[in-house]
């Protein structure tokens, strides 16, 4: 389908979450993403070659099938909109082939531990020699310099080393991790803007560049005001649970139904009165101890008990309707199967209905944007390991049958995962 980034070729050496999200998002606007793996080093998202019963990799209906690496759910979800090729970069011939691809590409993106590209001779200097105008995006854990340059991380590590965990936790309790590896999608989303800025500059001035993005530094950006606060005269507790610095009450309350919850946030005294009326607790309106947000903060524990008593006997959807009709900020806490059916997200066309040839039907995360004059493409389901080898090596790079067969026979392209 014709779209904004048609003709923009991205060599994608990323894996896990952050990088694959970036290229997935750019793929929705027509960029040609060539994802490079090797049969001995697949994207970790593809899971183990022979999953044991202890594996935490998710498979459709818990069935890994004959080729688990093509069915792993996280691969299916993140590697949409990409062509998948396999190339052994540790062999001279493999290197030669990726250099050929670099020549005809616009963007090179990787998220290895920092020194891996040096070893593979795929660092910026090497790549720039082959294609001087390339945009090289290095999305590493700690950036391309410093003593911790080769340290590795997942999103859950970054939450710690970037300080996000120090502000995430119940009031007066210990720090907690998000279980959703929050920094990963942030880095993925962020990199789209930086890479597009670099492409824009290249269109104007013909210059490529080296982008050195530190995932840890981006995570620190998410708590910037706390860094400043720690240097000021006034320091307040950092673990605030679900409460709001100013508004009160604000929290997550138990509803009728297993593990069902609702969020409620009262931002003015008038809304407090409305809530008391809805709860049929008019006696609280006059209560001087609950008059202002400041007072209600002080008494938040007992107020939360009162609200919980009221919410416990009602379903979360009913509560959301009642409260929103009264112009009070409130929402259901959606479970995984509920969020894919959320009417607003579906109205905004956030989910695509995908029918993956092997994994079947599911709803795919797409992009967080709507444009007045532009539409994203429909999802192209994730490809199998090496599915596009012939297309890329023969049609793009023009290798003849003999040469292609030679590369296959010598396990430089293709081969079974091991």
């Amino acid at each position: 389908m014709n779209n904004l980034l048609n003709g923009l070729r991205i060599l994608d050496l990323t894996q896990v979450a952050a990088g694959p999200y970036t290229t997935m998002l750019m793929g929705y606007f027509g960029a040609d993403v060539i994802k490079i793996e090797s049969s001995s080093r697949m994207d970790i998202n593809r899971g183990p070659v022979k999953p044991s019963p202890a594996t935490h990799t998710v498979y459709p209906n818990n069935n890994p099938g004959n080729q688990p690496w093509n069915l792993a759910a996280h691969h299916i979800q993140r590697n949409v909109n990409k062509l998948c090729i396999t190339l052994d970069l540790s062999q001279a011939e493999g290197k030669k082939q990726i250099y050929e691809l670099i020549k005809i590409s616009d963007v090179f993106i990787e998220n290895f531990r920092a020194s891996v590209v040096d070893r593979l001779e795929l660092d910026y200097e090497s790549v720039r020699k082959i294609n001087p105008s390339i945009i090289y995006a290095k999305i590493s854990s700690q950036g391309n310099s410093g003593k911790e340059k080769n340290y590795g991380s997942l999103g859950s590590t970054l939450e710690q080393t970037g300080g996000l965990a120090s502000v995430t936790g119940y009031l007066g309790n210990k720090p907690l991790l998000t279980n959703e590896t929050f920094p990963d999608p942030m880095v993925g989303l962020f990199s789209v803007g930086i890479i597009l800025s670099a492409i824009r500059r290249r269109q104007m001035f013909g210059k490529g560049c080296f982008i050195d993005l530190s995932q840890r530094e981006l995570t620190v950006n998410l708590i910037g005001e706390h860094i400043l606060e720690s240097q000021s005269d006034v320091q307040l507790p950092k673990l605030l649970g679900n409460s709001h610095k100013i508004f009160a009450p604000q929290g997550v309350y138990k509803c009728l139904g297993e593990d069902d919850w609702i969020t409620i946030s009262i931002s003015t005294d008038k809304e407090w009165t409305i809530l008391c009326n809805i709860m049929n607790k008019q006696n609280l309106i006059k209560k001087i101890e609950y008059k202002t947000a400041f007072d209600r903060h002080k008494h938040s524990k007992e107020i939360d008990v009162i609200i919980n008593e009221w919410t416990a006997s009602k379903t979360k959807y009913k509560l959301m309707r009642i409260l929103q009709e009264a112009h009070i900020a409130a929402g259901v806490v959606s479970k995984g199967r509920e969020v894919v059916n959320d009417p607003q997200l579906n109205f905004l066309q956030f989910w695509d209905n995908v029918n993956h040839p092997h994994a079947g039907k599911y709803k795919q995360v797409t992009t967080p944007w709507n444009f007045s004059n532009l539409e994203r493409n429909m999802t192209i389901p994730a490809h199998n390991l090496g599915e596009d080898n012939q297309n890329i090596f023969q049609n793009f790079l023009g290798l003849d049958n003999n040469k292609y067969q030679y590369l296959l026979d010598n396990n430089i392209i293709g081969g079974s995962p091991s």
């Binding site: 904004l4 590590t157 502000v167 995430t168 210990k174 530190s214 860094i227 604000q250 969020v339």
Partner: protein
């Protein structure tokens, strides 16, 4: 990279301010349009430098508006609106979070090539259009909240304003896509929208996958954090480590008997038996410095972490070596998280309320100083 662009930021929430800060870091000229006397909402939200709160002491404002210009303008008055139209004729991008249709019409009547960048909680139309949201509500509806926190307690939000920053990041990248379109198309009236709901639904990356493919919803679980002498760590032994990591780890621990313990011989098994493993490690960890554990374990190729408090970050060797912080008026500000060609963008300090009125009204738009003082007297500026 974006030096040719001018941006007006009308927004009042952290999301919009962070988006325009990122544009500014790439060279765009960003004008923060604030209400006379009151200023942006973040000026009255803490943390504050001093106990007494006043409009120039908000650290949240300072952090978010570094590198920008500030003008005051009351766009609800007739004169203010006229001046606003003059301003619109010289800018490329407007960031707004008021979801006002009137504004839409004014903007494109004045300058159809402007990209209107809209931030909402739930989008500009649809079944939730009249709903009220905020960071917590959006995290709940997006599927992010349900699986965070302890199983015995209520779901827990990601802390600080990080949900808002997420929306800012989304807006930033959305603006760049829209800019690409504007540069390559004759169509005007370009709008790009993002919302808290969509951004955070993108940020939940396990919940909707697991429930769809595995057929069961994710549940909340405790974090595998262990208590060290001075804080919290994770050992990072259950994912992403090398074959010889476990062997090296047992050496560090001085517990060679664990090397061949069948409960821990692979990453998968260490993940499965994580709580048993943590019980064994508890005592050792408790007597060590958190950052030392982190370095020791990272050096044998684990993905160990330590919970850095803000003050730890200010002393992090890695961050200091990369000159991550900007020293402004004696305070260390977290810098822009990337380098282009080995240079980190550096930004000037945040403006005082209306600091750039003369620069923008007189130098950029050609008003006389005497006009400006009249506007000032009437309260428009």
């Amino acid at each position: 990279m974006l030096e040719d662009l001018r941006v007006i930021d009308l927004s009042n929430r952290a999301a919009g301010s962070y988006a325009s800060k990122l544009l500014s870091s790439l060279g765009a000229y960003v004008i923060n349009v604030e209400k006379p006397y009151i200023g942006d909402r973040s000026r009255s939200i803490g943390p504050f430098i001093l106990k007494s709160m006043y409009k120039e002491s908000s650290l949240l404002y300072k952090y978010l508006n570094i590198g920008k210009k500030s003008i005051t303008l009351d766009i609800t008055t007739t004169t203010g609106r006229k001046i606003f139209q003059d301003l619109l004729s010289v800018v490329d991008i407007v960031i707004d979070d008021s979801n006002s249709e009137l504004l839409e019409n004014t903007i494109w009547l004045s300058n159809p090539s402007i990209i209107l960048s809209s931030i909402t909680d739930f989008g500009k139309n649809g079944p939730y259009v009249d709903f009220k949201g905020n960071d917590l509500i959006n995290q709940g509806l997006s599927g992010l909240l349900q699986t965070m926190g302890l199983p015995s307690k209520e779901p827990l939000k990601v802390g600080g304003n990080s949900g808002e920053y997420a929306v800012g990041i989304s807006m930033f990248s959305g603006i760049l896509i829209s800019l690409f379109f504007r540069d390559s198309s004759v169509l005007g009236n370009n709008m790009v929208e993002t919302s808290g709901l969509q951004t955070l639904a993108l940020a939940q990356i396990h919940n909707s996958i697991n429930s769809q493919f595995r057929g069961s919803d994710n549940v909340r679980r405790d974090s595998p954090l262990l208590k060290a002498k001075n804080g919290w760590v994770t050992m990072g032994l259950a994912t992403g480590s090398r074959d010889d990591t476990w062997h090296n780890f047992c050496q560090i621990l001085e517990m060679p008997e664990l090397i061949n313990d069948s409960r821990f011989s692979s990453m998968e098994l260490r993940r499965k038996n994580e709580s048993e493993l943590n019980q064994i490690l508890e005592e050792w960890v408790l007597n060590q410095d958190k950052e030392e554990i982190y370095h020791k374990l990272q050096n044998i190729s684990t993905i160990a972490g330590y919970v850095a408090e803000p003050e730890d970050l200010l002393h992090s060797g890695q961050l200091l070596e990369r000159e991550f912080f900007n020293n402004i008026d004696g305070m260390l500000y977290p810098g822009i998280p990337f380098l282009i060609d080995n240079v980190r963008p550096s930004l000037d300090k945040a403006p005082l309320l209306g600091e750039n009125n003369i620069e923008i009204y007189c130098d950029l738009l050609g008003y006389k100083i005497s006009d400006l003082s009249l506007l000032h007297q009437s309260g428009v500026v």
